[in-house]
């Protein structure tokens, strides 16, 4: 057997900023102008070239195509990107390779391409099984189209599928959300992400609420939904492993865990974020900037920050506590030469009293009850 050099792990995030139409709640960087697709991918390939040292140095374990709607573009574009990466990394040790898809943008041919280039996980956006809700959100599909796409994905042979849901939506009742959960459980995906709606100021949704056309989501109902979600999913063998993520055993998203465990990840494409060698960076968010900067043979990065020791600790706690496995304070003590428990003694006692956290000999984690106010809890422990 050949000896392997012990390289560090790397995840790769690739942003595909194109959508058929913009959903009303979305403040991510994506456009509906599809004439830019070809040019964008040309530049994406150039950007990848600039990271050849990084790609060479690390062992790529996960790839994630996110968006936007990565499935909107021709499968060949995705293939080209992978081939380009393969010029610098053999991708032999890849464990998880995900692409986000939306119903109505995929067909058998596209899925076959995905399969052939090594994609082994599909994340499909459903959000709700209620067609009125989907319409209100500006989704491009109804529930029936979702079912078609979902079944097709299974037919082509993907055995790791994640379904996205949303809750706390305008005029969404507990019953409506419960029905969505039930229907998704019946489909038996390996992974479910469920996000509580956050109304971002730059969105159409925000304007509609301000104008009184849509109802402002109710916090109380939102939390009742979250509790119902945790309850129902856990009874169906879905484990809440992160604030918004549930999975069957062994199907936790390895790529997302890279974020929470502060492993290295490369962000490619418009507005992508990366974390390499203790340095965080964010790419530019305008197409023009992206093209121009790459034309100048420079990486299209606009913010970059070296993470100091103190910030490392801050991040480790903040990100670790998102996971239901929590943080290992014994290791943290050793690593940062501190006494975590002693330094937060009062807060920890209070949090334990309120059953917001639990702890054992080496770890502290946020309870299901605490997940709803995790920011408050984290603030007390950083």
């Amino acid at each position: 057997m050949m000896m392997k050099i012990n390289k560090e792990k790397l995840g790769i995030y690739i942003h595909i900023p194109f959508c058929k139409s913009k959903c009303i709640y979305c403040d991510f960087v994506s456009v509906t102008n599809q004439t830019l697709i070809e040019k964008y991918f040309n530049y994406l390939l150039k950007e990848i070239e600039m990271y050849k040292e990084v790609l060479n140095k690390f062992k790529v374990v996960t790839i994630y195509f996110g968006g936007g709607t990565p499935s909107l573009v021709d499968g060949l574009y995705i293939e080209k990107v992978i081939n380009k990466i393969k010029e610098y990394n053999d991708l032999n040790e890849i464990l998880e390779f995900t692409i986000e898809v939306n119903p109505g943008t995929i067909n058998r041919e596209k899925l076959e391409i995905y399969k052939n280039i090594g994609i082994n996980r599909i994340s499909i956006g459903l959000q709700s099984t209620n067609n009125n809700t989907l319409k209100m959100l500006g989704r491009i599909h109804d529930y029936e189209e979702f079912l078609e796409s979902y079944n097709l994905i299974r037919e082509v042979g993907f055995d790791n599928v994640s379904v996205d849901l949303m809750f706390g939506l305008p005029s969404q009742t507990i019953e409506m959300f419960e029905s969505s959960i039930d229907k998704v459980i019946k489909l038996n995906p390996e992974h479910i992400s469920a996000y509580s709606l956050k109304v971002e100021e730059s969105t159409k949704l925000y304007k509609l609420i301000k104008k009184g056309i849509l109802e402002e989501p109710n916090e109380e109902i939102d939390r009742n939904m979250y509790e119902l979600l945790i309850d129902k999913l856990s009874r169906n063998k879905y484990n809440l492993y992160e604030i918004s993520n549930f999975s069957k055993k062994g199907f936790e998203s390895k790529h997302n865990i890279i974020y929470w465990e502060r492993e290295n990840y490369l962000g490619l494409g418009l507005a992508a974020h990366g974390f390499i060698d203790n340095r965080r960076y964010g790419n530019v968010i305008s197409f023009n900037d992206y093209f121009n900067i790459i034309d100048n043979k420079t990486k299209p990065v606009e913010e970059i920050s070296n993470i100091c020791e103190e910030e490392n600790l801050f991040e480790e706690i903040m990100l670790g506590l998102r996971l239901s496995s929590g943080i290992n304070y014994k290791e943290i003590n050793k690593k940062y030469n501190i006494d975590f428990i002693k330094e937060h003694n009062q807060e920890i006692i209070e949090l334990l009293e309120e059953e917001m956290i639990q702890m054992n000999n080496d770890s502290i984690w946020i309870t299901k009850r605490g997940m709803s106010i995790s920011n408050t809890i984290i603030t007390k422990l950083i």
Binding site: Y13, H15, F28, G66, Y195, S196, L197, K198, E219, E220, D222, R223, I243, S244, Y259, Y265, G267, A271, A272, H273, G274, F275, R280, G282, E303, S305, E311, F314, E315, M318, L319, R322, E350, L351, E354, M356, M371, S372, I373, S374, N375, T376, I377, I378, T379, I382
Partner: protein, 605 residues
């Protein structure tokens, strides 16, 4: 005795009702006399403090020397001494007026004589100033100069026939004001050969030169190297510099009788440069210090305590420095069960309190928390002993108390006729007794009330403004102490009594106030992990109660595409917010909560 030198000096202030254009006129005078070029001219240059600008009122005194060649061909030196313009600062007004021979009275040509106009004229009369009336805002379509002149003559008994009709904003007829000053304001008398007698009408602290005294020289002269003495405490110094403001600080060789300027003398201890004190020559002292200064007594007290890691010594330093510029601020060390070591501070009123608090936060960068404001109560114990209580938590056990007295003020409220009903209802609600009510003219009325001070200090002024659409004005002075049925209400947060929130109130308003405080605290205290009961109680009897609901949601559901930085910033901000809180047991209370609960709130009316 007026020498030729003195005959060319005029020392004057500008007095006006708020918003009648005092600062604008000051700007214009500086500009017209060419003291500053237009480019240097900043809007309202005399109001230098950021805080003053925001609130549009002058707190710190500023002074400036203007050069003006009058129509008689002679060059005059005009010393403009600015005065603050709020009911809380009558003392500061009186000090600067005493340094002048005359006052320019600015009256809005459409608004006419207002409560503050009268109050200020009264103060100026008391120190014997010549009053030079000026009609401002003559350019406004609503201006009615002839009527207002009549009003000035009738209401104030000041001849106003020849009053300059100006627009400070538009720069119309500004020269007329300068001429009137030269003509009407008497030149300063005093003998430059007599022993030095100089009045400190303001002072500021400077870390390089020590305290800087702003002075008006009445007799004698002062120059660098002179040995001087502060007459209140006999402490001596050697003068390091004398100068004038033009309007920036400018060194001169000597300040002589009749002149206005500044003196530095390496005065290290800020307490040795008291506003109101007289400076004389140590080797050749004058016999008597200046008289006519009202020594003011603080009317409102509150505790100021360090928040978080703030050191109590830093607060002491800040108070010491602020006191240098502000003779009406007093403080002494105290302790609180809830807040630890801090200071009990005395202020002229609630606005004064807020300004000092904000200056401590902004200028001195301090993290502080202040307790519920209180007035001073006289408490007569069963054994006949009489004590003064300015901190409600120091009130002796009720069983030991024979009776209590509270301060009563005489309040003069000027108001337009149509709002009299509202004002009377307000005064009624605040336990007022009407003394008198007069028509000032066809539209305006003057109401005189006796009011308990503790009903006035909290939100009375704001409420008055609100119910009179801004047209009401208030002036008050302490009348006497009177026996009263007072109770102490305690505030319990999460079942814990917070001594810093305790208040002494009249029995009849305790329930109303208690309810309001609980309601306000409910709005002010952020949601916690658990529900927080807030109660107001007299002894063990709960009179009001509210509940801060437990927090249900505070979570970042999605961290998009590994963008950790955004989430980090969010949490850092949240963490920082925490630091501005004071922890009482398990509950975080915002630093401004104590003041906030007493403020006027529109919903209540």
């Amino acid at each position: 005795m007026v020498s030729e030198r003195q005959s060319r000096i005029r020392n004057f202030s500008i007095i006006a009702h708020i918003d009648h254009g005092k600062s604008t006129l000051a700007d214009r005078l500086i500009e017209t006399t060419g003291q500053l070029t237009k480019r240097e001219m900043e809007e309202q240059i005399l109001d230098t403090m950021e805080l003053e600008r925001e609130r549009g009122i002058t707190i710190k005194l500023q002074t400036t020397r203007l050069k003006y060649i009058a129509k008689d061909g002679i060059e005059y030196t005009l010393n403009l001494i600015d005065t603050p313009g709020h009911v809380d600062f009558t003392y500061e007004v009186s000090r600067s007026l005493a340094a002048c021979e005359g006052a320019v009275l600015v009256v809005d040509a459409s608004q006419g004589v207002e409560a503050q106009t009268m109050a200020n004229v009264h103060l100026a009369d008391e120190v014997g100033l010549e009053i030079v009336p000026v009609l401002n805002k003559i350019d406004l379509p609503s201006a009615r100069p002839d009527e207002i002149i009549q009003e000035i003559e009738d209401d104030l008994s000041i001849l106003a026939e020849d009053a300059p009709r100006i627009s400070a904003k538009e720069g119309i007829n500004i020269e007329d004001v300068l001429e009137a000053i030269v003509e009407k304001v008497p030149a300063p008398s005093g003998d430059e050969n007599k022993p030095l007698k100089a009045l400190i009408f303001d002072s500021i602290y400077n870390s390089y030169t020590g305290a800087i005294a702003y002075v008006r020289v009445f007799d004698g002269q002062v120059k660098k190297g002179d040995k001087i003495k502060m007459m209140s405490n006999e402490v001596e110094y050697e003068v390091t510099e004398v100068g004038i403001h033009a309007p920036y600080q400018k060194k001169v060789d000597v300040l002589k009788a009749g002149e206005v300027g500044y003196v530095t003398a390496s005065i290290k201890n800020v307490k040795d440069c008291n506003v109101g004190d007289t400076i004389t020559n140590a080797e050749n002292p004058t016999e008597k210090p200046m008289h006519g200064y009202k020594k003011v007594t603080p009317m409102v007290y509150c505790g100021i305590y360090p928040l978080g890691d703030q050191k109590v010594d830093d607060i002491r330093d800040a108070l010491e420095k602020l006191q240098l510029n502000d003779g009406s601020l007093v403080y002494e060390a105290e302790t609180s069960v809830a807040l630890g070591y801090g200071f009990r501070c005395g202020f002229l009123g609630l606005l004064h309190l807020e300004i000092i608090q904000e200056r401590m936060i902004r200028e001195f960068n301090l993290d502080i928390i202040s307790t519920s404001p209180s007035v001073i109560y006289n408490v007569v114990l069963n054994n006949g002993e009489k004590i003064k209580v300015q901190n409600p938590s120091n009130l002796p056990d009720l069983t030991l108390i024979n009776y209590m007295e509270e301060p009563i003020v005489r309040a003069d409220i000027m108001v337009l006729k149509e709002y009299v009903g509202n004002v009377m209802a307000l005064c009624e609600e605040r336990r007022g007794t009407m003394l008198d009510m007069n028509y000032l003219d066809e539209k305006k009325m003057m109401l005189n009330y006796e009011l308990p001070l503790n009903e006035v200090i909290y939100d009375f002024f704001d409420t008055l403004k609100s119910i009179t659409k801004g047209y009401g004005s208030l002036d008050y002075e302490l009348l006497e102490y009177r026996e009263s049925d007072l109770v102490k209400i305690d505030i319990l947060i999460n079942k814990e009594k917070i001594d810093a929130f305790s208040m002494i109130l009249h029995k009849s308003s305790a329930v109303y106030r208690g309810r309001r405080i609980c309601k306000k605290l409910q709005e002010t205290i952020p949601k916690h992990m658990f529900a927080i009961p807030i109660q107001a109680a007299i002894g063990s009897n709960v009179i009001a109660r509210e509940n801060v609901k437990a927090m249900r949601k505070d979570v970042t559901s999605k961290c998009y595409g590994g963008d950790i930085t955004r989430k980090k910033k969010l949490l850092e901000k949240q963490k920082k917010g925490k630091k501005r809180m004071q922890k009482f047991g398990k509950v975080d209370v915002p630093q401004n909560a104590f003041l906030e609960v007493l403020k006027y709130d529109d919903e209540n009316k």
